[in-house]
Symmetry: C2
DNA sequence: CGTAGTCTTGAATGACCTCAAACGCTGTGG
DNA sequence: CCACAGCGTTTGAGGTCATTCAAGACTACG
């Protein structure tokens, strides 16, 4: 377990974009890396935020739980993305939990370290602002979707979002390359696993997707887009 | 229209908290103030973002419109709060529109100016990060609520949120001190004005709220909280 | 080969929306 | 001062989308 990771891993991380070499070295010097097995809970909702995190490899899902145990999947994130940073600016408690959905490699900095780094290298703060801004826009868009769209369209949007950020081309179409259950999709779209299952079954019957347990392949993305955008069903024969 | 406003107005703005006197002067020097009559659209969704904004006085609502015209009220904000800053970090287009719901006094900075200010005074960027972080948490919470709760609870939550940020004590209870229609509430909670009207009527019958056109007073806040938290029955303690 | 977790599917219920009509303020102009 | 138009609001009736309840099938894994 390397205490100071290879500086190369920070390349391509939006959070550290456009940093001078020495600043980067500074950042690396204070970082800690960790190997995290699939299924591990990286931090829990309500925990004292001890660190800011970033993913070097793997996939993490962010889940928020309500007072009565209702869960919502707020975000899936992949290599190069930061997470758990919100807590630093929100009274020091994580507002959600982070779960490794695949084996992961994580890098993190203690909160005081992270703060100091931002003070020393304002560029980092600007980058964080930019990332946060973008995500904020995303969440607002989701809020609108969930407020105004019916379930089928929401599921379509969720799948397309996942494809965009974790899609892998395969011969039969585009596959989402980490374990994804109906329950997950339900928690992303504010519905039940039953409804998700029914919807996916229907789409499967129409040849739009192909799914097995915890695994989804979109075979006809354009038709899914049509559903998401509520376009007048493209001319198709059945 | 004063070109450079009184530095005093920046006091109490979270965005400029903990800034040294000279930095504050720098900020003020580049600011522009504007008087905005009630009902004015301050900026439109999709517009090129020319400026970052902050409210000195009045109330503004932020509304996002979907491709089919469905509207969602993302936020109400009052004196001292910044807005329209997201756009600066999101490809330069406003992701929503801002409407003055009362007469307002606004202060703004051109985007390049704002960026330069943040470069010169990193504290501002840190503050912005903190504000954005907090709001981000709010939106995520709303997303969970809207995903998992039934309409009645969502409306209760919306009202309580409004009370918290724009509530004014009156002898009959707490009043929300800007024009607020059923339509607005519907667009905040992802429902229809009809359902909001029915719900409010029911509450009115139980003496929990009292409302007239575009005007709501919460007479028994604790009972509204009980509804929002889904507590057993109106078994209340004083 | 059993067990646990995931997924499918049917049927019944209900929360909420849609459609439709009417009511009551508020401001305006005759 | 009254009539009228405009807007926000109220309320009913009917329909439907999605949840809830229930049972069973499939898959992975020990």
């Amino acid at each position: 377990m390397p205490h100071s990771p290879d500086p190369a891993v920070l390349h391509g991380m939006p959070l550290f974009k456009a940093l001078e070499r020495e600043a980067l070295a500074d950042v690396v010097r204070h970082a800690q890396t960790r190997l995290i097995p699939k299924g591990t809970r990286i931090f829990s909702q309500g925990d004292e935020a001890l660190a800011g995190h970033a993913l070097i490899d793997g996939q993490v899902k962010i889940v928020q739980t309500g007072p009565d145990g209702q869960q919502v999947v707020l975000h899936f994130l992949g290599a190069g993305e930061m997470f758990g940073t919100l807590a630093m600016f929100m009274g020091g408690k994580y507002p959600a939990e982070a779960l490794a959905v695949t084996d992961c490699v994580e890098i993190h900095w203690s909160v005081p370290t992270m703060m100091a780094l931002m003070e020393r290298h304002p560029r980092i703060a600007l980058n964080a602002l930019s990332i946060l801004g973008r995500r904020f826009g995303e969440v607002q868009k989701r809020l609108r979707e969930i407020s105004t769209e019916r379930v089928e369209r929401r599921i379509a949007h969720a799948l397309l979002r996942l494809v965009r950020q974790a899609g892998r081309r395969v011969e039969t179409g585009v596959e989402i390359d980490f374990p994804l259950s109906r329950q997950d999709l339900a928690e992303m779209t504010g519905t039940t696993l039953h409804t998700v299952s029914r919807t996916l079954s229907a789409w499967e019957g129409q040849g739009i997707v192909a799914s097995t347990r915890q695994h989804v392949v979109i075979t006809e993305p354009h038709r899914l887009v049509a559903i998401a955008e509520d376009l007048p069903a493209p001319k198709q024969k059945d």
